[in-house]
């Protein structure tokens, strides 16, 4: 496996590999999100208690899941960069962070819109809401720290340390906040036994969760490509690439 993986540690290879991957990723993103969202918003039955408001779930839950998934993938990238000193992994951190922050904002906003009719309040100091908000602040911290460094290589390493410290703290924050206060409903689909969501609502939700995963992957691939280009701009292969493109353009 290492032999197979090893070439991708080279930014140039990954740059071209991402270019090949992106159309497929977008195809899956649109396919899944269109089917899942249309199914969820228009054709799935409404909830007997929540009525049509339940449909916010089809956006809210995937965004919330991948806001955390993005943070874990960022921490994994940081760990890889830290242990094996792979520059590309450091670049991945700065590619992932703003996407994760965006998902967190979507989760928070849709949650507030859902909370107003259901709980009667836009915001409640509840465990999950609070830890999602803290997650958002952690993303902001990482993005701000990265941009504060002029030497991007140094900045990426520093940000990696912060991401690892943050990921150790994330479960502690989560459980302490849970102990502090809770109002949010428990997990409905990740339980190992039969999910407590009816299958007619579950299918579009699962499609959207998968769709958001591809959405995340496509955005990160695109951001990673620009990150590679800007970080490697003095390397010969980038110069060659630019020359080639400009000759094509003329």
């Amino acid at each position: 496996m290492w032999k197979w993986l090893h070439p991708y540690a080279k930014p140039e290879v990954t740059y071209h590999f991402c270019a090949k991957l992106i159309p497929w990723l977008w195809l899956f993103t649109f396919g899944l999100l269109v089917v899942g969202t249309v199914w969820g918003l228009a054709f799935s039955p409404e909830d007997y208690q929540q009525g049509d408001t339940v449909r916010i779930m089809y956006i809210h839950v995937p965004a919330a899941i991948w806001s955390m998934g993005a943070y874990s993938s960022m921490a994994i990238a940081a760990l890889i960069g830290f242990v094996w000193q792979i520059r590309l992994a450091d670049m991945a951190i700065s590619a992932i962070a703003p996407v994760g922050a965006g998902f967190t904002v979507i989760a928070l906003l849709t949650g507030a819109i859902w909370g107003k009719p259901m709980w009667g309040t836009w915001w409640e100091w509840d465990a999950r809401l609070t830890s999602e908000l803290i997650l958002f602040f952690q993303y902001i911290g990482i993005i701000a720290l990265y941009h504060a460094f002029e030497d991007k290589q140094q900045g990426a390493k520093i940000v990696g340390i912060l991401a690892i410290v943050g990921v150790i703290n994330l479960p502690i924050i989560h459980f302490s906040v849970e102990w502090w206060q809770t109002l949010h409903q428990g997990a409905s689909i990740t339980k190992l036994e039969k999910p407590s969501v009816d299958t007619s609502l579950l299918w579009p939700l699962l499609l959207n969760i998968l769709g958001f995963a591809f959405f995340f992957a496509s955005l990160v691939c695109m951001r990673l490509r620009t990150e590679i280009l800007s970080r490697e701009q003095h390397r010969p292969w980038v110069k060659a690439l630019v020359m080639e493109k400009s000759v094509d353009g003329v």
Binding site: A144, L145, A148, I161, L162, N169, S176
Partner: protein, 224 residues
């Protein structure tokens, strides 16, 4: 070389530095008192209300003072080059750093505790609540200081790092804050609060073990 000897030598040097530069000693304290004064003015001088928010306000003020004290901990030694020498020496760098952190924490904590009886009057607290607040500050405060030190280490090579550092470390404070105020609330209701104190102690031990490595890695990267 005996590592305890190194530890105490570094601590002694840090103490000497803070006593020679009295502003390091006094500024965070004055800041602490000022923040405490702001709250009664902002929310109104009602004894019942002040009694209720008092311990939380003391904690917030202490956390902000910690942030202020930790921020300049590595700055000077980074710029005069002594931090680089310590990083290059044969003594483990994380040992030097932890000695620095513990020394600076004492420099902040001891005056803070000495001055804290004023909160008895400011917020009309009773003695028991004040005692628990100080207890949580002693146990949980070191964790807060360690997190702040990691933040300071991350931003040490930046010229304008202070606001950024607050942004990085304040989210990490939350678990400590929750359990500290949890202990205080339990005490004010007459319940046992040893459980919360034990959790604060556990957090302190884990952060004492983990923070030195994060700090030394960050500073090494910062030194380039």
């Amino acid at each position: 070389m005996n590592w305890w000897h190194v530890f105490f030598t570094v601590m002694k040097k840090e103490w000497l530095l803070s006593f020679r530069q009295k502003s390091d000693l006094i500024n965070p304290l004055a800041f602490f008192l000022l923040v405490l004064t702001l709250f009664p003015i902002a929310v109104g001088p009602f004894p019942k209300l002040l009694q209720q928010i008092g311990p939380g306000v003391i904690w917030v003020a202490a956390v902000l003072a910690t942030l202020l004290a930790a921020e300049r901990m590595f700055k000077q030694s980074f710029h005069d080059g002594s931090l680089e020498q310590q990083a290059l020496s044969s003594v483990p760098f994380s040992l030097t750093l932890i000695a620095k952190v513990v020394a600076n924490w004492f420099v902040l904590l001891v005056p803070l505790i000495l001055i804290s009886p004023v909160t008895l009057m400011f917020f009309h607290l009773n003695f028991e609540i004040w005692f628990v607040t100080i207890l949580t500050l002693i146990i949980g405060g070191l964790t807060i200081f360690l997190f702040s030190a990691v933040g300071a280490a991350l931003t040490v090579s930046l010229h304008r790092g202070s606001v950024l550092m607050a942004l990085l470390v304040i989210p990490l404070y939350i678990p400590v804050l929750i359990f500290a105020t949890g202990a205080i609330n339990a005490a004010s209701l007459g319940f046992a609060y040893h459980g919360q104190l034990a959790i604060l102690g556990a957090m302190m031990i884990v952060s004492l073990l983990a923070a030195p490595f994060a700090m030394s890695t960050a500073i090494r990267v910062g030194l380039g």
